[in-house]
Amino acid sequence: MDPLLLARLQFATTASIHFLFVLVTLGLVTLLVYLQTAWLLTRKPVYERLTRFWGTFYLVNYALGITTGIVMEFQFGLNWSGLSRYVGNVFGAPLAIETLVAFFLESTLLGMWIFGWHRLRRGVHLALLYGVAITAYASAFWILVANSWLQHPVGYEERDGVAHLTDFGALLTNPAFGNAFGHVVSAALTTGGFLMAGIASWQLIRRTRDYEAFRKSLRIGVVTATFGITMAVGFGFAQFGYLGEIQPTKFGNDEDKAAAAADFAARFGGSPTDYLPPAWVGAPLGFMILIAFTLMWVWVFIPFFYRDWIIRLKFPLVLLMIATPLPFAAAIFGWFFRELGRQPWVAYGLLHTEDAVTKTSGAVMLTSFTALLLVLVLADWVLLARVAHRGTADPALGRRPDEPHPEPADRPEPVLGPIGGTSW
C-alpha cells in the first residue's frame, strides 16, 4: 500500500482515539477539582465518595490518554520526518514547551495525588489536583498552538525551503488558535458533563446503592453539560467569521475557493483541483452541528431538578444515557472537518502532506502498531465500563492504608445484585 495513505490513516486513527481520552481527561479533571474542593470545604462524606469514584474513572481513562499521547509524539518523527525537517524550527517549539511545561508536571503531580491520600495534608493533596488540572489545560493550550500553526502558519520566514521562527507572539495571537482553544475546552466540559450525567443515570436506573452520590453526580453533570454545550456552540460559530479568510479552500465561497486554488496552482504547480479538499468535507461539519443542536436541549432538564422529577420520571435518565456518546462523535466530526479541510496541505500553503511523510515504507509495522493500540483501548473501555458499573463502593483510590485491602487480582468478582434488589 501507499505509505502516504497508510501514514495518514494511522495518524487519523491514533489522533481520533487520543482525543477521545483527552476530552474525558480535561472534562473530568475540572469536575474532580470541584468535587474535592467541596469535600475539603464541607467535609461531607458524599464528596469523598464522589472524588474517589470519579477519580478512579479519571485514572483508568488517563492510562490510555498517556499511552496514545506517547504514540502521537513518536509518530511525528517516525512517519512524518518531513514535518520536523521543513517546519520543525517553528512547529517543534510549542510541542517541546507542551512536554516540558505541561505533560511532565501533570504526570509527576498526578503520581503524587494518587499515592498521597492520607499521607499529605488535605490542602496539599488538593493543591496537587489543582496542579494536575492547570497543567492539563496548559497541555491543550500548547498542542492547539502547534495545530493552529499548521492550519495557518504565522510568525516565520522561509529560507532554503526551511521555515525559521521570527515572531513567537504571532503563534499565540494566531486567528486559527483562540476560538479553537475555547471550542476544544468547552467540548471537553460538555463531554465530561454528559459522561457524568450518563453514568449517574445508569446507576439511578438500576437503583444504585448510593443514591445520594449519583443524584449529586447527575445534577453536576447536567449543569456542566448545559454550560459546556452553550460555550462550545458559541466558540464554534465564532470561527466561521474568519475561517474563509485564513483557509479559503476549506471554507471560502465558491469564488474565493477557485481563486485560492488557482493561486496555489500558479505558485506550486499542478492543476487547481489538486488544491481542493475532498468534496464531502462539509459533511462532518454538518453532523457536528446537528449533534450540537440536539445536545443544546439538555437545559430543558434543569427545571426537572425540582423535587427530583428528573429521576422520578425516569425518561430524562434514559435520554441522558443515550446522549453520552454523542459529544465524542461530535468532537471527532469537528476534527475531521478541521484536518481534512486543509488537505492537501500539512502546513497550509507551506508544506504538502505528501512532502512530509517519511520515505521509508514500514507498512507492516504501522498496521501492527495501530492494532496493538486498539487492543489496549478496547481493554481500557471495558475497565471503564466496569468502574462505572461497580459504583462508589470502596474503590482502591484513597483507601486508608490501615484498612485491610482485598487483593483484586485474586478475588472472585462479586456477584452483582439483581436490578431493583435494593431499595432507594
Binding site: 485514572l59 520526518s81 516540558l100 509527576t108 503524587m112 520515505k359 521509508t360 502498531f369 496493538l372
Partner: protein, 327 residues
C-alpha cells in the same frame, strides 16, 4: 547554546533510562517474584513521574533538534518501534492491572513482556546510533535492514541485563527481605559478560569503528560502566542496597553518554555518504527557536526537578504495611 541543549537532551534521556529503567527492571523481575503486588507498590508513586522523562526528551529532540528527530526515529525505525511498543504496553498494563477483576496474570505477562521489549529496543537504538545509519544527502534513510547487526543485538541484550540488575537493586532498596539483592548479585556477571560481548562486537564492526571519533574516551566510559557494575555487585553482596542502586543508576546512564559523546561532533553518522553525516550543530534548530526555548528552560527546569524531588522525598523509604497500594 547548542552544546547545552545537546547535554540537556542526553540528561533527560539518561534520566529516563535510570528512572524508567527501574520500572522496567522491576517489571522484568515480576517473572520471578512471589508477591507481585508488593513489587508494583514499591514502584508505585514514582511510575507516572518516571516515564515523563522520555516524553520530555522527545520534546527536546523535536524542539531543539528538529533535523535530528526525523532522521533518527525514521532511520532507526526497527529499533524504535519495539521500544515504543514496550513502553506503551507497560504504561497501560501497570495502570490497569489492578482495575481488572480477572486476568491479572495476563496483565502481569504484558508488564514482563513490555519491559523486556522496551529494554531491548532502547538498547538497539543506542547500538544503532553508534553504528550509524545509511543517511543520504537529501535527509532520507534507505531501508530498514541496516540495523540488524550482531552489535545492535549485543547492545540490546546488554541494556536488558543492565535493566534487570537495576530493577533488582531498586527492589533490594525498597523491599528488603524480598531476595532481590541475591538476584541482583547473580545478574552482575551476566551484565559484565554482555558489556564485554558488545565491546568485542563493536571493535569487530567496521561501521562502529568508523563512527566512533574518539575511541580512547569511549574506552574510559566503558571502564566507568564496568567499575559501576563491580561496585554494584559488591554493595549488593554486603547488604548496602543504597550504594548498589547508585552504582546501577550510573551503569544505566553511561550507555547514553557513550552513544551521545563517542561520535562528537556528529549526532548521527551516515554509513553511505560521509558528507551526509549530521553534526550536532547542523541538527539543531535555528537561533531564534533555541533562544526562546532557553529563556523558558532557565526557570522551568528547576521547577520540574523540584517537583520530582518532592515526589521522591514524600514517598522515600522502605515499603511496609502502611504503604498506599493502587497499581
Amino acid at each position: 547554546m547548542v552544546t547545552i541543549w545537546y547535554g540537556l537532551l542526553g540528561l533527560f534521556f539518561a534520566a529516563y533510562l535510570v528512572l524508567g529503567g527501574y520500572d522496567y527492571g522491576s517489571g522484568l523481575l515480576l517473572a520471578r517474584s512471589a508477591d507481585r503486588r508488593k513489587v508494583l507498590t514499591a514502584v508505585g508513586p514514582f511510575f507516572l513521574g518516571n516515564e515523563v522523562w522520555l516524553v520530555a526528551a522527545l520534546g527536546i529532540l523535536f524542539g531543539a533538534f528538529p533535523m535530528l528527530e526525523g532522521e533518527l526515529l525514521a532511520g532507526l525505525y526497527p529499533a524504535v518501534a519495539p521500544a515504543l511498543a514496550g513502553v506503551l504496553v507497560v504504561t497501560a498494563a501497570v495502570q490497569l492491572r489492578s482495575r481488572a477483576a480477572a486476568g491479572g496474570a495476563v496483565w502481569d505477562r504484558a508488564i514482563i513482556g513490555g519491559s523486556a521489549l522496551a529494554a531491548l529496543g532502547w538498547g538497539a537504538v543506542l547500538g544503532g546510533l553508534l553504528q550509524g545509519v545509511p543517511l543520504h544527502q537529501d535527509g532520507h534513510v534507505a531501508g530498514v535492514g541496516h540495523i540488524l547487526t550482531p552489535f545492535a543485538g549485543a547492545s540490546a541484550v546488554t541494556l536488558l541485563t543492565l535493566t534487570a540488575l537495576h530493577g533488582a537493586a531498586f527492589l533490594a532498596l525498597r523491599l528488603p527481605g524480598g531476595g532481590h539483592a541475591r538476584t541482583g548479585r547473580r545478574l552482575v556477571p551476566w551484565a559484565l559478560a554482555a558489556v564485554a560481548a558488545t565491546t568485542v562486537a563493536g571493535i569487530l564492526s567496521s561501521r562502529v569503528r568508523e563512527a566512533v571519533q574518539r575511541p580512547a574516551f569511549t574506552l574510559l566510559l566503558l571502564c566507568l560502566l564496568v567499575a559501576a557494575l563491580v561496585v554494584a555487585g559488591g554493595a549488593l553482596a554486603r547488604g548496602r542496597p543504597g550504594v548498589g542502586f547508585a552504582a546501577t543508576s550510573v551503569a544505566m546512564a553511561v550507555p547514553v553518554a557513550v552513544a551521545g559523546l563517542s561520535m562528537w561532533p556528529y549526532a548521527l553518522v551516515s554509513t553511505v555518504d560521509p558528507a551526509a553525516s549530521l553534526t550536532v550543530a547542523e541538527a539543531a534548530a535555528s537561533g531564534p527557536t533555541l533562544r526562546l526555548l532557553s529563556w523558558l528552560a532557565v526557570p522551568l527546569i528547576p521547577v520540574l526537578l523540584s517537583f520530582q524531588v518532592m515526589s521522591w522525598w514524600i514517598f522515600r523509604g522502605r515499603i511496609d504495611g502502611r504503604a498506599p497500594v493502587y497499581w
